[in-house]
Structure formats: structure tokens, C-alpha cells
Homo-oligomer: 304 residues x 2
């Protein structure tokens, strides 16, 4: 399985358009050693020809132009065979509205994520201008689906959507009822190599000794925040990591501690602009790496 | 007045994600001399400190990171004092959903454009999470409004929204009634320099000897298509320029001919990926320049 990290930042990108925190100012001025990052999205492929997007970030057009493998090989063509949505957050779905031009798209999503997006949004009609423009394959929690190529044949990859603690997208909090389908991680399995990728970029908590995180050969995990009070302490926000449904990395109840028994390759992604691990010379970055974790960056390539 | 062309491509960007036409293939491979372009948006300022966006393209975050003048000068800050929408096309409004992070925004739009965007779109709630997040100033056709700074003081710029022939956004065609407010151009006037910019990036036709285009010291005009049958002839689409409500550049009824009496500085923008003027060595580019027109590119700076 080929894996390309297209974007490794949380919603808002790094640097963030309205932010002058140490990291954002530092990366703009060159005062810190850090890479700019677009918003969270991953491309996976069994053969290097057909690709599946895990989430469609608002930066999707930039991400495609940086990855020749995702560019057309014909007059009108795209190597994108499908798009999987892990939740309905705007930083995971807005890119869909840039993938129109009446091009056929196949969407894989839980019923709740799809309804939150397709119902009550006039903008969604841009993906339904022609009867065969949009195909939707509903993901049932825990069930494995074969990811299909445009002709219906198996791609060599399967996906399982597994519910993980999360929350409704902010814009739906007042109008929708929470559901276990609102936030999932994906176990992507390559039937040839027998390798699995677990993509879990939004995880509010890891309850008990979960088997889930031991099922993968490689884990892409929620690295949004370093601490629970990161935004508050830096004076850029009032919400805690917990309120935003992201398990912080550091501390006794953080992901470094809770997932310390994992031995697979493990990578933090979906990293918020305020997270000190973005600064490559920071103590926090050194600590993460000393514990055997990597930090995703845009353009990172994995082969499983 | 300072003017920055943030994006000079039509919807879909150049190159376009699913397109392998001569231009798109050429710019990717280097076979033609051409610049990549993000989607249509312009920033204007009287003082270089506070800026107004003319449209919010899906590429707005990339555009801000390329323009230091648009970046924050504080912990949480933006020099963007307001955003004017010339219509509700997705390539003109999607960027709004990337300018959230609960940051206060001031939107200038006609009633029709605002309603098409704000009503029946759950995603719009992301801009209404807090009572003072979004301020809306309704534009009446033909009336001049003072563009205000955050504290309510005049910015030194005024704007007039003037109806021009256009059409409803594609995603609203089945659900909404057309209105003269659906598509406007903006006459931006600098009260200090007494100079005016006419920004008219979507214009379906120029009826009669319009005075409108003689009112400006600089014209940014719809350069979407070279000919009416451009998409059809290139085999990448079935719609004519006329059906898409864009006056083509070439021919007896094209903009080059119809606007030939203009003597102000005149620049084509909102250029579709298929338009031969994108290729800097093309005969079409040479013809446009021989007629005294310029071709906008991302990062172009004007001072009026």
C-alpha cells in the first residue's frame, strides 16, 4: 500500500491565516525551523494508479498539484477512485466542493456524516448536477468494504470505519443529534501486502486497553494538541482540547502515555498550528521522537 | 489605491485538477510558458494596512500566505476589514468557510447573493457561531457605500455594486429565481487619489455603448474564454461561454471588439484553464497585448 500524506495540519492550516502565535509567526519569519502544512488529508493506493482520499480538505487542489500521482492522465481524467470521510468537519469536507466540474465522484461515508453534509446544504447540489455525478457508498460501523475502482473491480484495498469518540462538526452542533457515526477512524487493509494502516486523525479519548490500535502496521493518530489547555495558555482561544474532542499528546492521560505499548510505526498528524511539536528544535518534538513517534509532514510517503 | 491580484483563474484553477488539455498539461510539464493561477480574488486597500477582498476564493488561505500585507500583525488579527461578493458562485464564496476560527468578518453583498449563501446552507452556521462573528452590509444596486474599518471609520475606499448580465450559481439554478442582484461588478473608488477600479470578473454581455466601462481608471474584466465554443472545441465540455454567462474575448461580438474604445488600463482576469491567452507565446496572447490589454497573474500589483 502506498500512502501519501497530502496535508498534516489541523483545521485552519499552518500557519493559520489570522494567527500570530510563536509557531505561526516563527514559520513566516523563519525564526523557527518548521514546515508549512496544509489541512489533514491522506491518499492511499494499492497500485499507484488509482487513489483514494481519506478526507477532502479545503486545500485539495493545492494538494493534487503537489502530487503528480494524483494528476489527470487524459483530457478529462482523475486517478481519484473514491473519497472517504472520517467526519463532517469543514476541514475534512470542503474540498469536495472544489472537486466538481461535473466530474464523477464516489463518496464513502457513514449515514450520519453523509446526511449532515448532503441535507440542508444547497451548496451540495453542485455535486448532484448530473444523475451519475455522485455515487455514495454508505459505511456501516465495523463492516469491511471493498474500495472499488471506477469500473467496479476491487482496488486491492478494503476499509473499515470504526467509531471513535469525537463530536459533531461545530456548524451542526445546534441542529443535529450526536451519533456514534459522527466520527470514525479507518482501518485500510491491503489485500496483497496484508498490511494495514489505521488513520485516526480525530480522537477524543482512548478508553481502556483498546485492541483497535494494535490492529495496524502503521498508525496515523490525532496530534492536534500537545496539552489540554494549549489554546487557553497561549491566549488564542477559550476551548480545551477535550472540549474540541481531541486527545492531547502529553501528560498522564495523553496519547503518548496511553498508547505507549504500541510497537507499530506511529505518526502524529492533524497537528494544530499552536502545537510545539511543529517546531523541529523544540523539547516537545524531541520527546515525541524519543518515544518512537514520527511527526507527519505534507508530502510524506509511506509504503506498507 | 493599492490593488493585489490574489487569484486570476476562473473556477477550477489553472491547471485544473481533472484536466489534461493543452494548457493544463503544458503548464504541468513545462511544455508551454505559462504561470499557474489560483481562483479569482482581488485585494484592495487605501492605506496598505487594512484590506478588502473582492470575493473569497477556495484558495484564500494560499493567497493570504503569499501576501505578507494580508497576514496578522498580532496574536489573533487579520488586516482583512471586509469581503465583497460579486456573485454566489462557489469559486467566489467557498473561501468564507476557511476564514472562520470564530474571527469577526464583515461581508458586503446584495440581498440575493447573501440569501443564496446564508439560507439553506447548514455550513454557513460556521460563520454564525458567536453573535458578533459576522456583520453583513447589504449592497443596494447602484448605491455607493463607504467601506469601513473595524472601528467603523471610513477606509478611504467606497464601493458601488452595479448589476451586470450574469446568472445564478449553478447549484441554485433549480431552486432560486433569477434576480438582477445575482451578479454585480464593483466600482471601487479611492477618495484620496480620486482613482477608480472597475472589477467585473463575470460579465455575460455588454449591451450597447455602456457608460459603465468608461467610469474607471482601471478595468479588471472577465477573461474566462477566448471563444464561445472553447470547451466544446477542445472536447472538455458541452456548454458554450454564453450558456455559462461569460462574454468571450474574441470575435465581432467579443469583449476586445466591444470595448475597443476604452482608453483606461484594462486587464483580463478570471481566466479559464482552456483559454489560449494563458500561454505566453500564443498568438492569442500576442493579439490581446497588441490591442492594449494586459493579462492578470497571481501576485500582480497595481497602484491607482
Amino acid at each position: 500500500m502506498l500512502v501519501r500524506i497530502l496535508g498534516s495540519a489541523a483545521g485552519g492550516r499552518f500557519p493559520q491565516w489570522n494567527c500570530g502565535c510563536l509557531n505561526c509567526r516563527g514559520v513566516r519569519t523563519g525564526a523557527i525551523r518548521a514546515r508549512e502544512r496544509t489541512q489533514d488529508s491522506v491518499a492511499v493506493s494499492a497500485d499507484g494508479h488509482s487513489w483514494f482520499l481519506l478526507n477532502a480538505s479545503p486545500d485539495v487542489l493545492t494538494q493534487i498539484e503537489r502530487q503528480p500521482a494524483l494528476q489527470p492522465r487524459g483530457l478529462r481524467h482523475s486517478p481519484l477512485a473514491g473519497i472517504l470521510l472520517s467526519n463532517g468537519d469543514l476541514d475534512h469536507v470542503l474540498g469536495l466542493f472544489s472537486l466538481r466540474e461535473s466530474h464523477p465522484l464516489t463518496l464513502y461515508a457513514t449515514r450520519a456524516v453523509y446526511q449532515g453534509l448532503a441535507e440542508g446544504n444547497a451548496v451540495f447540489e453542485t455535486l448532484r448536477r448530473h444523475p451519475r455525478q455522485l455515487s455514495v457508498r454508505t459505511l456501516e460501523l465495523g463492516s469491511e468494504v471493498v474500495l472499488q475502482l471506477a469500473d467496479g473491480s476491487p482496488s486491492g484495498l478494503t476499509a473499515r470505519a470504526i467509531a471513535v469518540p469525537g463530536k459533531l462538526p461545530a456548524h451542526l452542533e445546534r441542529s443535529s443529534r450526536p451519533s456514534a457515526e459522527d466520527n470514525v477512524c479507518f482501518l485500510i487493509h491491503d489485500t496483497y501486502s496484508a498490511q494495514s494502516l489505521l488513520y485516526a486523525s480525530s480522537v477524543a479519548s482512548v478508553r481502556g486497553p483498546s485492541e483497535l490500535f494494535h490492529m495496524a502496521d502503521c498508525l496515523l493518530f490525532d496530534g492536534t494538541f500537545w496539552t489540554n489547555d494549549e489554546l487557553i495558555r497561549q491566549g488564542v482561544g477559550t476551548a480545551s482540547a477535550e472540549q474540541m474532542a481531541h486527545l492531547p499528546i502529553y501528560g498522564e492521560t495523553g496519547s503518548l502515555a496511553l498508547l505507549k505499548s504500541l510497537t507499530c510505526r506511529r505518526i502524529f498528524t492533524h497537528i494544530n498550528n499552536t502545537n510545539p511539536i511543529l517546531s523541529e528544535d523544540s523539547a516537545e518534538r524531541a520527546e515525541v521522537e524519543a518515544r518512537g513517534w514520527e511527526v507527519a509532514h505534507d508530502g510524506m510517503e509511506l509504503c506498507l
